[in-house]
Symmetry: C3
Subunit: 340 residues, 3 copies
């Protein structure tokens, strides 16, 4: 099958971009400025790549107005070149065919329902009371337990587990290995032994959320763990029971959110961020990578923690001094007092 | 099916709690103080929720003696309300039916044994020499390799992998995506290339342990990786080869324990804790979230590491100073010396 | 089946080691110095175990020249006892039989190719355009999507997912739960909602790489995510889209490498190391456990970050002072200035 091809004029019209230069140029693929060749469309969003503009062999480049003059070939001018590029490049994405129908190997409980337009791949099992909505794509090897409800257009890419009482809104995408609805880490100590606290809640995921590979979202203890709409979780993220994450918040890989934490809307958590349980983070908070949130954050803004990387020899000395930091501060106070 | 229902008197008798108020009140579910309605049982353990006691609509509340007077309806008085609640709420937990028997899709090696009372779900494979004990529940999609032995009453929830030489005691529960018995990260450098060190040991898990979703426990290099009884691991935890974890220790999510570390009994490791290899932690040690253990801990107690979160602008300044901390301490010493 | 048995002389000859003592001694297993019994071969590499040499019951010990005199029984003398031991112990490793052939449950797309000498276990699915090379072992429960190519001798232990456009070189080993080729975390914000940036690249893994359990390697956005040959990744590692990792680099568990970072050859990253995106680390860099790389490293060497563990009470005081560190440094400067 020939790859799709679009002229620069067609793209300009379709995505409401200003065309500069030859609109008849054909685009049959996307690439970086540095590696693009004839027939490719590239983009410039990050100013640090501006020097590559003059040398690029791309036939078409998506740029901001202020960079348009420097484009050697055809330019498509956008307010936000990155999102324009994202929408254009979707035209060149080939996705596996997922025709409606249930693979003959699939095991569906008689008490489950699968919409006629859904695609269910090999070796999937679907438990009692679960409902797979219209147009859902359930990739190979997924396990859907009891009482899970997927609204229309969800995609479980492959080998996803929904344990029990998981509700997915519309168009939720879950990547391989993710586990939703597992029993949370609820323990009580009794007579010197751990006692499991039953985890009776579920997981409630809003429309357009995305859950990364091998990410875990535990079900709630009494109420549900909740992701509002358009929440984006990267890979290997841990979401404890009864966490509540506001709409449009994005959390990067290897982060962990402990039980009953409440995170606001439009927050950005960098890689390997930690959030202690039972606290609150307001809307529009940014936590940079590796930050640990140990108390509630009530003001929007950007927050950080951690120490800088340095040669190990120097680090050992500085690190040892950290143990004496309070004492050092007191010594400085003493010196200041004497001076008076 | 109607939900189960129990009167307050029945619960008081069954769990040896003191009844205060109307014992004929029927309980058909559990809830938080804030969200409970008529027919619900709630509890008060954390003093911070005490203000909710007066307003709760719960028919029954489990409390400590000192809070009993404030309960508007019926009270059940316990020394430890949280564990009493845990035991009561188990009455209201509905679990999927797992009747004895092996799903027709299952692939069992002729050299493996599965007890008649075990339940084995769809798409499970069981390798040579493996033994599944009485009453075990093996959920869909699990892979059990060669020479794995599960004693009675174990549960592999779904999509668990036991690679090889994994021994599970009684009533061990393993959550989806967990991998036990994988080859440890044993490498020797030879002539500029990595050489794998064969991982000939196994994994030995004691009675009543629980292993979280997507958690990994590597098998030992020469001897076994060991979890004593009643060890509790949360999700996304990494346990290296030849680690030994004492009974009743609990490790929260995203933690990593490097090879041959030895952790005592009744330890508590918070989220994302790290433990360096080949060291020892004695019994009853608490490491708060994100702490890194770089040398042995021989005294019980609570230990921490890390820096506080702050606005990024301030953090950049403070963080830069950390690189000069040793020099700063020397400058203070010089000032002190001069003063004398 | 009787375990394999080799005499000390045979081992000396086969691995080019110097024999000291009785060469007729039979070795039928390997063990640690402390736990070895008659018939066992042990080794001494780490000097801290030297005191165990005199008491060991091992029939044969692999040692360096300088320790040979202390060996009570037969010694095999090596320049590098650890790698010699690794090669010897491979003789005693029993691996499951993986005869050529495809399990009847397997689902292979008509457009995929599987070499005649490959072994494909139960419940595997293989998508259109994928190619499984000679001698590959695909364990139970693996999902291989579209357009994935495995060269000869690869092993996917069990329940591995290759999503799409994954290329594995020769003899690549991937442990259970790993996910390669998942869509990277590429997001653009548009009108207050997240927009997915299509991830059109693949994953390119060189010969002899090893990928740990539940590790994730995202596919590239426009170009490929690349691991050169002999890269070793431990469990629960996250590799973002378009990362490039040089040959012979090893990365320990729970580490995360953000998108488009470029790591050199022969680097060693300890446990839970973080690397920020779009930066460069040169060859032969060591980052100790928990270090975070926030800017490019251009000089080989060992680098660290973090604070030491201490009793929580002391930590709270020191940690609070970290917020004032810049101010403290200024106060010391003021004192120094006054003194002049």
């Amino acid at each position: 099958m020939a790859p799709p091809s679009h002229t620069a004029s067609q793209l300009a019209e379709r995505f409401a971009l200003r065309l500069q230069g030859d609109g008849t140029v054909a685009v049959h693929g996307v690439a970086t400025l540095a590696n693009a060749g004839p027939g490719h469309l590239a983009f410039l969003a990050n100013p640090r790549y501006r020097p590559q503009l003059a040398q690029t062999a791309a036939s078409v480049v998506v740029v901001r107005e202020e960079d348009a003059e420097q484009v050697p070939g055809t330019a498509l001018v956008a307010n936000d070149p990155y999102s324009a590029f994202a929408r254009i490049s979707a035209l060149f994405e080939s996705r596996p065919a997922t025709p409606p129908g249930i693979h003959p190997s699939v095991v569906v409980d008689p008490g489950a329902q699968v919409a006629a337009s859904a695609h269910v791949g090999a070796f999937v099992s679907i438990g009692a009371g679960s409902v797979i909505g219209e147009g859902c794509v359930i990739g190979p090897g997924c396990v859907i337990g009891e009482d899970c409800h997927l609204q229309e257009g969800c995609e479980l890419v492959a080998r996803v587990t929904l344990v029990t009482r998981v509700r997915l809104g519309k168009r939720v995408r879950v990547h391989p290995g993710a586990v939703l609805g597992s029993a949370g880490f609820g323990l009580a100590m009794q007579n010197g032994r751990w006692l499991n606290v039953p985890q009776l809640g579920g997981v409630n995921v809003g429309d357009d959320c995305e859950i990364g590979a091998n990410t875990c979202i535990d079900r709630g203890a009494l109420e549900d763990t909740v992701l509002e709409e358009d929440v984006r979780l990267d890979n290997l993220v841990q979401i404890g029971h009864n966490v509540h994450i506001g709409a449009h918040t994005a959390i990067a890989g290897c982060s962990g959110i402990a039980g009953s934490a409440r995170i606001g809307r439009y927050c950005l958590l960098g890689g390997a961020v930690g959030v202690v349980g039972h606290l609150e983070i307001t809307d529009k908070v940014v936590i940079t990578g590796r930050g640990v949130v140990r108390s509630s954050i009530l003001e929007p803004g950007e927050y950080s923690a951690g120490t800088p990387l340095m040669e190990s020899k120097l680090w050992r000395k500085n690190s040892a001094r950290f143990k004496q930091l309070d004492a050092l501060a007191r010594r400085v106070s003493a010196l200041e007092k004497e001076r008076e």
